[in-house]
């Protein structure tokens, strides 16, 4: 058969961040096969860090690019580059946490999770070096996230969604301590995640049925011209948004988040909280702003109700938590609601405020989980609130960092959290969505309480026998903590540059 066969033109420079991430991930798999075991962690960590930094450099070099390339599969535009940049910056910090081995002998991951817990073999591997395969898995996941943000058709988006999720499910199951809970979190996350991506897929199919194409711009064009029944379009929109809201952990699709955040190894929880959130909101922004913008009047009230529900559920349930990881999970749910407020202020200001919020939240939450990985006793991490009482007296420096991070999450002025909340709420006011702002302010006040309670407990209680010990951070965790704290304060004191950057970047290419 002689078809005149033509490969599509591919702008390799525009997709270079993706190529670097996937390339390093594949190299990481080869390292597992060929590099002797003792050297593997260094090689893997170094390669992953260099790869993510190189991809970040490539993103910076691409600033200002606006192209659709690779046969119409990838859009490289302002929002894509801004959020890829944020994602990769978080990726560096998360990799530092994943690579840490000083805090826990052998690292936070176990080499052979399938060994029965408590058996003789398990005791032998208790302090053996952990699996180094987490590095390639994290890189695969990061690559999927970067593609998820930039995908310009729904099929590419679906594949990126799977690529970012599957390694995450697996990494959840690899915790060294509390392994049963970790594996259970993996099962839960997997089953609910696969269920949600089934809904997303059916939405994609219905959009294809309506528009005759899965290209986001083509769907936008078809909204006015298609002869098909609009019911198809609405069903498609509902199912796609449902799938994406699941990944952002918005209520009522949030039920997985507390269990998974608590069960997963802390570095992976940090990775999920910061990076997955950026990726999911990147895709949500692109789908709603590019493909379904003409239906904005139909989806605004519905997603508005979801946003209010998310903020309130997250805030109220956070108050009742006694476990810090669960508390941060509910805080992550509430924060998804705050970002949604920005998304709902449809327009340039709305998009830029949501993007800024994601940056501020990401650094704060990475810092918080970095501290959590340091507070330990003989059993591993101690995340129960009562064990944190008096920690401030024992190790003022790290407790100070945690305080800054908590104040940022609570939205206290002079921290990134305040600037971000201010940006999101003023964007919503600008377009006349006052009810969202009211709900937002109310839930900010509610959720400030649990954050401040932790701070008060740390500083004002006397250390007792049950107070956990704070392990001195190694170089990697120390760097991660430093980056997190500096970014949080920096975004609060001089938010101008990042706000301007977000504003300049916030135009979607259709």
């Amino acid at each position: 058969m002689t078809t005149d066969f033509q490969l599509p033109a591919i702008d390799y420079q525009a997709i270079s961040p993706l190529l670097i991430l996937f390339g390093v991930a594949c190299l990481g798999v080869l390292v597992e096969a060929f590099v002797p075991r003792p050297a593997r962690r260094r090689v893997q960590l170094g390669m992953a860090l260099v790869g993510v930094l190189a991809a970040l450099g490539a993103v910076v070099l691409l600033a200002g690019t606006n192209v659709v390339t690779a046969g119409g599969s990838v859009t490289v535009d302002g929002p894509a580059l801004f959020m890829q940049g944020a994602l990769l910056a978080f990726g560096v910090v998360a990799l530092l946490l994943i690579g840490e081995r000083r805090v826990e002998p052998g690292g936070a991951f176990v080499a052979q999770p399938a060994i029965t817990v408590g058996s003789e073999a398990d005791q032998r591997q208790a302090s053996a070096p952990g699996a180094t395969e987490v590095f390639p898995l994290a890189m695969f996941s990061l690559g999927g996230m970067a593609l998820f943000i930039a995908a310009s058709d729904l099929l590419t988006m679906f594949i990126a969604l799977e690529l970012l999720s599957l390694p995450l499910y697996l990494m959840c199951a690899l915790a060294r301590r509390h392994r049963l809970i970790s594996q259970e979190a993996a099962v839960k996350y997997f089953l609910l995640g696969a269920y949600a991506s089934g809904f997303f897929l059916f939405g994609v199919v219905l959009a294809y049925g309506y528009a005759g194409s899965v290209d986001l711009a083509a769907i936008h064009a078809a909204v006015d011209t298609s002869q098909m029944n609009p019911a198809l379009l609405y069903a498609a929109l509902a199912l796609i948004v449902m799938g994406l809201l699941f990944k952002t952990a918005a209520a009522p699709f949030h039920v997985w988040a507390p269990d998974v955040y608590q069960g997963a190894p802390t570095p992976i929880t940090a990775f999920m909280a910061a990076c997955t959130k950026v990726a999911a909101f990147g895709a949500l922004l692109r789908v709603t702003y590019v493909a379904f913008e003409r239906l904005a009047w139909d989806w605004l009230p519905v997603i508005g109700v979801i946003a209010v529900l998310t903020m309130l559920v997250g805030a109220v349930l956070a108050v009742t938590q006694t476990d810090l990881k669960r508390l941060l999970a509910y805080s992550s749910i509430a924060n998804a609601g705050f970002v949604l407020v920005g998304v709902l202020a449809v327009g340039r200001t709305g998009a830029s405020s949501a993007m800024f919020y994601l940056v501020a939240y990401g650094f704060a939450v990475l810092g918080a989980f970095a501290v959590i990985s340091l507070v330990r006793d003989r059993e591993g991490e101690t995340t129960h609130l009562s064990r944190w009482a008096g920690l401030g007296r024992r190790s003022p420096l790290v407790a100070g960092v945690f305080t800054v991070v908590m104040l940022a999450l609570a939205g206290i002025p002079l921290t990134g959290g305040f600037t971000a909340k201010f940006a999101v709420f003023s964007a919503a006011l600008e377009v006349g969505e006052g009810w969202l702002v009211i709900a937002g302010v109310v839930s900010s006040v509610i959720i400030a309480f649990p954050y401040l309670r932790v701070v008060v407990m740390m500083w004002l209680s006397e250390p007792s026998e049950s107070t956990a010990t704070m392990v001195a951070p190694g170089l990697l965790t120390g760097t991660a903590l430093g980056i997190g704290a500096l970014a949080v304060v920096g975004l609060g004191v001089v938010p101008g540059p990042v706000l301007d950057l977000a504003h300049d970047a916030a135009l979607f290419l259709r």
Binding site: M1, P8, A25, I115, A121, N229
Partner: protein, 176 residues
């Protein structure tokens, strides 16, 4: 009634019936076998819809690989061969709501569409043949296709890590 209509009715009834059996049967192994029937009926429908290659790939990948894997999993988790009473959880509200929504959706679709089918772009071997589809795949879907290979690699590596054999029994495992 043409042949295609009869086939649609027959295969559709088989697919829905088998699907219902998957969801309701109390036998774990039978659920897997009903799934084979359902997927087979779907492959038949793909053939009726002139998606020849998709139909054969469906048989190869789904019936041949996925279901076999699922049955292996059933065996390895030592599921009882007979009926097991604990497969369901009380979900009647969910069942009712879901079934109502599904029937409504289906009715809506039947009511909403007045389409006429257009003939597919023809290749030398028919519209759904491997050649035509391959051309389409590499013309507009190169990047997703390559990413798919990365996805498979990630899934394989991850699955191996999670289920690595219990080498700790030997002394070599201690060194690892």
């Amino acid at each position: 009634m043409t042949v295609a209509d009869v086939l649609l009715l027959g295969l559709g009834a088989v697919a829905v019936g088998a699907g219902l059996c998957v969801v309701t049967t109390a036998h774990l192994v039978r659920a897997g076998l009903y799934l084979v029937v359902c997927l087979g009926a779907l492959a038949g429908m793909f053939l009726v819809l002139t998606a020849e290659l998709v139909a054969w790939v469906q048989v190869l990948i789904y019936v041949g690989a996925v279901v076999v894997l699922l049955l292996f999993a059933v065996m390895l988790t030592r599921a009882p061969i007979g009926a097991s009473g604990d497969l369901d959880r009380p979900g009647w509200p969910g069942l009712l709501v879901g079934a109502g929504a599904g029937l409504g959706l289906a009715a809506l679709f039947v009511d909403a569409y007045r389409w006429t089918s257009v003939s597919l772009p023809d290749g030398p071997d028919g519209p759904g043949s491997a050649g035509v589809l391959g051309g389409e795949l590499f013309r507009s879907w190169v990047l997703p296709f390559e990413v798919l290979s990365v996805l498979l690699l990630a899934a394989l590596v991850g699955a191996i890590i999670v289920s690595r054999p219990d080498v700790g029994a030997s002394d070599r495992g201690a060194e690892r």
